[in-house]
């Protein structure tokens, strides 16, 4: 392991951390603006031009607020839970190729931290570990609503992991590899080669479970919005609560990268156009998360379970079986 590789990796890690923590902040701005426009409001307007500095104001507020640890909580677990959410979200980024390889001053840079040959499984596994944040936070809070939220987290997690895995199985069978770079190479020939044309069902299923995986609106009931509290985050304050937020937004960004990489051609042949295309697709999926939040109510917990086990899972299994038969004959 030479030192050039080591330095390159450290630089990549730092760059990704900085960019995506900043993006998580800017993501909240986008979310407020888009929700506001969809609800015919103005959104943040007072701090800076068009409210752009609202992000900085929120950051200062979160960093300087008192970090309150309530009396009856299980202190170490309570303290570590938000860190788990944020840390695992960023760990998942290690196996995502954000851009095609490019050259800087004659040095070829691969914008992926670790090109492991099980990339997609690693990303999903890490995002799954991220569910421990809400779960532990809710259970350690000594608050009944938080505990309820933790129970819902466990339910969503245990159910939707199945759909995510099964829906991905069919594309994996076609590509014959778990590396996201191999997925990209498979679809490098242009729009006609995209996996979404041969696996539309898997695409929709994976997209639906991406909402569950990130805990976004149709499945936002892990935060109990309708009880006018913040679920697992009820007892949190200041930066610990902010870490939950950063984790959620970073997860949204990363899954918005993963969906196009698997189904929609990724960065294509690796040209500048392809790279911009990937960023464009990522922006669309991120926008879609916000759009859904403006347009849809949350589902009920029983509807959530019903949807997962009675609708999505059978469809996913049938999809895998059909893909297998088509590939065999």
């Amino acid at each position: 392991m030479d030192s050039a590789y080591l330095i390159e990796t450290i630089i990549k890690v730092v760059v990704i951390l900085l960019i995506f923590s900043a993006l998580a902040g800017i993501g909240t701005y986008f979310e407020r603006k888009i929700l506001a426009f969809m609800q015919r409001r103005l959104g943040p307007m007072n701090v800076g031009p068009y409210g752009l500095l609202q992000v900085a104001a929120d950051g200062i507020k979160l960093f300087t607020k008192e970090d309150i640890i309530p009396t009856n909580v299980v202190t170490p677990i309570f303290k570590i839970a938000p860190v788990i959410t944020a840390a695992t979200a960023f760990m998942a980024a290690a196996a995502i190729p954000f851009l095609p390889p490019f050259e800087v001053f004659g040095y070829e840079v691969h914008p992926i931290v670790a090109d492991v040959n099980i990339g997609i499984l690693y990303v999903l596994g890490m995002m799954a570990v991220g569910f421990y944040g809400p779960l532990l936070g809710g259970m350690a809070s000594a608050n009944k609503f938080s505990l309820l939220s933790a129970a819902r987290t466990a339910a969503v997690f245990i159910s939707y992991e199945v759909v995510t895995g099964l829906s991905l199985l069919a594309p994996i069978m076609m590509v014959g590899s778990l590396s996201l770079i191999d997925f990209n190479e498979y679809q490098a020939g242009g729009i006609g080669d995209w996996i979404v044309w041969s696996q539309p069902v898997a695409f929709i299923l994976f997209w639906i479970s991406a909402f569950a995986e990130t805990g976004r609106t149709p499945f936002h009931l892990i935060a109990n919005d309708h009880e006018i509290i913040d679920g697992f985050g009820t007892e949190y304050s200041g930066m610990r609560w902010g870490l939950f937020f950063i984790g959620e937004y970073a997860n949204m960004f990363f899954i918005s990268f993963v969906i196009p990489l698997i189904f929609l051609g990724g960065y294509g042949d690796g040209s500048l156009f392809g790279a911009l295309g990937l960023l464009g697709k990522m922006s669309f999926f991120f926008f879609f998360f916000l759009w859904t939040r403006a347009a849809w109510p949350d589902v009920r917990p029983d509807q959530l379970m019903w949807l997962c086990w009675k609708i999505l899972m059978p469809i996913a299994v049938i999809n895998v079986v059909i893909t297998g038969f088509v590939m065999m004959f």
């Binding site: 492991v116 690693y122 421990y132 350690a140 466990a154």
Partner: protein, 188 residues
């Protein structure tokens, strides 16, 4: 060098986590340490180059321990300490030490006598997943199929146990209807 550092770091962390799991009387600590320990074990798979097994370790055990949390939530107040019934301490310590030593000896003996031969050599230029697939469908085909049947049996049994009276819904019934059902001793 990196491998040695990583190995000792994760070995220490894993043992520390499982030590906490066994010794603490707080259910939440025990479960969290268990989950952490299980995830740290995956580091050894990564160090040995078995990426696929490492990730499977993470995915399977996060899910499995998550189910344990769910049970913990149902049965305890996880923010309070559990009162444990302590038996004879010497017997417990003696038995667990003996078991640990026995397990180490069982696995170490063939290595010490150099009696291990790789019967199925690694196929060149095949990935992790392909290797696992090949070994599952050749050498371990029967255990693999038996495991599949066992899972099927467990699933059928689970549905039979959980599925009793699933056709009636207490939410949709009026209170008289519920009373009638109770009198029929359908709902115990």
């Amino acid at each position: 060098m990196f491998e040695a550092v990583a190995f000792y770091l994760f070995a220490f962390l894993t043992i520390a986590m499982f030590f906490i799991t066994v010794t603490t009387s707080q259910a939440l600590y025990a479960l969290t340490a268990l989950a952490a320990g299980m995830i740290f074990i995956s580091a050894f798979f990564f160090i040995l180059g078995a990426d696929f097994l490492g990730v499977i370790q993470i995915i399977v055990y996060t899910g499995a321990v998550m189910a344990l949390y769910a049970f913990g939530m149902m049965f305890f107040d996880t923010t309070r300490k559990v009162k444990e019934k302590r038996g004879n301490r010497y017997i417990i310590v003696g038995l667990s030490t003996l078991t640990a030593v026995l397990i180490v000896v069982i696995f170490a003996a063939p290595m010490v006598s150099k009696n291990i031969v790789a019967l199925y050599p690694v196929i060149e230029d095949a990935g992790n997943i392909q290797l696992v697939g090949v070994i599952l469908f050749t050498k371990y085909l029967i255990p693999f199929e038996v495991a599949a049947i066992m899972l099927l049996v467990a699933m059928v049994a689970g549905i039979v146990l959980a599925g009793k009276k699933m056709d009636i819904s207490l939410t949709l019934m009026s209170s008289e209807e519920i009373k009638k059902e109770e009198n029929k001793k359908v709902l115990s």
